[in-house]
């Protein structure tokens, strides 16, 4: 324990960030490690992927303070419209007081329930704090330094992580991204990762009142690797939230998405699409928490499982007692393409208010035989027919993506994966 504490004390240049890291390091010891008796951890045995002791003795380089020209923090590239999007290193965010303000938010504070949650915040090597403003007034010099070159669209921010590769002596990598969106702002956020090692990340999106946020997340894990991605979205009054998550690869993935509806008038649409190849285990846990009424949220999860992969989905719609006028929906559809693939779906509703409309649906099965016969009668081989049908299954998800670049990218990722599954 002391070794990592010393590393933090020695390497972390920002006093304020040092405090934050040490505070979470203490929490690592205090909080429980998730085990399979916990409802939300039934399908992932985190012990297989993370050993806290190893994580605490591993060498770390807290490089986030070093920026390479306009590229952004070390290990990741962040692009956003200059002026409207202010990109800070976590060090600067801590020094400027933003970070402390953020972690004192109730939703952010409450999201640390288990020791691995605290571990991410104590040990992250790649971190970034992005402030998105409504108008171009990100004037201060210090901030402009990090505001990087313009992206194609004016409201687009791209976060690209360098591939998390195997390097000697390192089993784990941690990252933490915060996107703080001012009320009324309009933004498309994309982030993409590729990993070979076990990585643990957190992305917090604070959507201000009346903001419009589209978030595209594209993740690919190679076999032997594991990615736990925890996304927390706090939706302010009258905000519009759309998320698109595409997950592929032969490695294991656990995606957690927590949406907290903080005020009336929120409309949130959460979409996920994933494939399971090889021995991959994909586990998705979501929570649509309606803390305030008069809001709408919908979630759809589409999965295609091949080889001997397994996919699981545990989704909860929770409606607080005062959240009247809630309209929440959840659907999970899974295609099983091979005999050895397996799927689990647990859509849960926990409703305390009476004036609500909540529903969920789940279906599991294989490609419709009629579709196959139709395609094959037109000379398409069985394999190709299967690929086409599975691509069609993802069609709506791809069509819904907010920009053509990410749509092309996601489509390519998914169809390459489907080809590998079907061949």
């Amino acid at each position: 324990m002391n070794t990592v504490k010393d590393t933090i004390k020695e390497q972390e240049k920002s006093e304020k960030l040092k405090e934050v890291r040490l505070r979470y390091l203490d929490l690592v010891r205090e909080l429980p490690f998730p085990n399979r008796n916990d409802e939300d951890w039934k399908n992932t045995n985190l012990k297989n992927y993370l050993n806290i002791e190893t994580a605490l003795t591993q060498r770390y380089n807290f490089l986030h303070g070093t920026f390479s020209s306009l590229k952004g923090p070390a290990g990741m590239a962040v692009q956003g419209p200059a002026g409207r999007c202010c990109i800070y290193s976590m060090e600067d965010a801590a020094e400027s007081g933003f970070l402390n303000k953020l972690i004192s938010l109730k939703a952010i504070e409450k999201s640390v329930r288990y020791s691995p949650d605290a571990l991410v915040r104590a040990l992250f090597e790649r971190g970034v704090y992005i402030k998105v403003l409504k108008d171009k007034n990100c004037g201060e010099n210090r901030e402009q330094r990090y505001g990087s070159k313009n992206t194609k669209k004016e409201n687009m921010i791209n976060i690209n992580f360098d591939k998390f590769k195997k390097t000697s002596g390192k089993g784990y990598a941690f990252y933490w991204v915060v996107v703080d969106i001012e009320g009324g702002a309009d933004v498309i956020l994309t982030d993409s990762t590729q990993n070979e090692v076990n990585i643990f990340g957190e992305i917090d999106i604070i959507a201000g009142n009346g903001s419009t946020v589209k978030y595209v997340s594209i993740d690919d894990t190679s076999s032997g690797g594991f990615h736990r991605k925890k996304a927390l979205i706090s939706a302010g009054e009258k905000s519009r939230i759309s998320t698109y998550t595409a997950v592929t690869g032969t490695g294991d993935f656990r995606g957690e998405l927590e949406l907290i509806i903080q005020g009336p008038g929120v409309r949130a649409e959460l979409k996920k699409a994933y494939t399971g190849e090889g021995m991959a285990r994909k586990d998705f846990v979501t929570l649509q928490h309606h803390a305030s009424g008069e809001a709408f949220s919908s979630l759809s999860v589409l999965g295609v499982l091949g080889d001997s992969s397994s996919g699981s989905f545990t989704g909860t719609i929770a409606v607080d007692r005062n959240a009247k006028g809630t309209d929440a929906y959840q659907v999970s559809r899974t295609l099983l393409l091979s005999g050895a693939s397996r799927a689990r779906a647990v859509p849960r509703l926990e409703i305390l208010a009476d004036d609500v409309k909540c529903s969920h649906g789940a279906s599991l099965g294989r490609i419709d035989k009629d579709d196959m016969v139709y395609l094959m009668s037109r000379g398409v081989s069985e394999k190709d027919a299967e690929i086409m049908a599975a691509e069609g299954f993802f069609g709506r998800f791809i069509d819904a993506l907010p920009d053509s670049d990410s749509a092309r990218f996601v489509e390519e990722r998914l169809s390459t994966s489907l080809k590998r599954i079907c061949r």
């Binding site: 099983l336 647990v346 509703l349 009476d354 609500v356 969920h360 279906s363 099965g365 294989r366």
Partner: protein, 478 residues
Amino acid sequence: MQNILRLPDMSLQEQRFNMPESEYKYGFHDPENYVYKAKPGLSYEIVSEISWLKDEPEWMQKIRHRALDYFLKKQLPKWGPFLGDIPFDDIYYYIKPSEKQETDWKDVPEGIRNTFDKLGIPEAEKKYLAGVGAQYESEVVYHSLREEWAEQGVVFLDMDGGLREYPEILKEYFGSVVPYTDNKFAALNTAVWSGGSFVYVPEGVEVAIPLQAYFRINAKNMGQFERTLIIAEKGSRVHYIEGCTAPVYSTDSLHSAVVEIVVKEGARVTYSTVQNWSKNVYNLVTKRSLVLRDGLMEWVDGNLGSGVSMKYPGAILKERGARAEVLSVAMASEGQQQDVGSKVVHMASDTSSTIVSKSISKSGGRSSFRGLVKVIPGLSGVKASVRCDALIMDDESRSDTYPYLDINSPEVEIGHEATVTKIGEEKLFYLMSRGISEIEASKLIVNGFIEPVVKRLPMEFAVEMNRLIDLEIEGSVG
């Protein structure tokens, strides 16, 4: 994440005790005048005593002891309602109310007979039942089966009688569907079971009218642990109905039954329950059937009473063509937690299952649907559908849905749907604008909501069910 909304269980407990007794029609109790009452609490001595009093074969006594070991070892479940308040040490595990079992109501001790008269059992028997078993505390006090069925070889006995007269059958099937290692309360039941029904329907016999068992708890702090075994041979058909009530006391009683059903090739068993325990009863029941080739198991489950209910009637579809249907209605009122649902395991190809659940929460009650559909690897042609609808009557109540779908074969069609709604203002307005009072309108809506399940009950039960629900609503609306 699921803990965010957990209700404080203590307050539910308190609410339950504060219920006015007059609301519950079956809340009366008789003076205690028993032939034998064991000391409260659970021990090897009590278990041996029960076995000795019943003059059981040694193998049964051994099973009881092994089950007790398991019960003591096993923890209370961490999920679902809070069970930490069950006073295991204060409960009477065995009470023998009368010297022997009767086949004529006239011979049943007067006090007990009056109770069953009040509950309307003898009258119902005359009208529409093929056979009746009436259990009072730990023992079955009355049993009858119409001659025409007895002649065809149908056996309808209490479980103790079954053990005496058909020990080989019992030895083969006892614990084969629900072993004592299944869960803590199945272990408890196996250790201290007493009473319950033993039904055997020979090959090809169709019992056209229902058999009924009625369970009554009378004493304070009573634990009732009946054990039922139904075996339906090839091509046979039987409908079994159970009903249950208890007096209202300020301390808790425990009802923990085990029901095992074996549905053989092409047979069909319907098991209907109208559970109306008083609100001081913990109802923790394990019910399961094993369905063989082309067999059909139907569970029709009405849960209106009890303080805490945990009941998931299930089916193991073991051979090709087996089917299961589960229809359940739950109503959770003030101080009640109805944690009910169903469990279906598909273990063979071309099997199908349907689960339909309707729940109503009112006056601060909590109803949860908890279901499991599991398909093991390597199957094809499996179909399963789960549908659960919930109605919330006011803003103090709560409704949860926890369906688990665990699918390990691709050649399946699994569908699940759930909705939660409140009584629609528009529907109420529509009805009330036509001169129907608010109470009547609410009743109409609720009865319409549960209609798909109620229509599957025998007429008399359907009427009773509707009436009970009407009574509950009258207490809460207006």
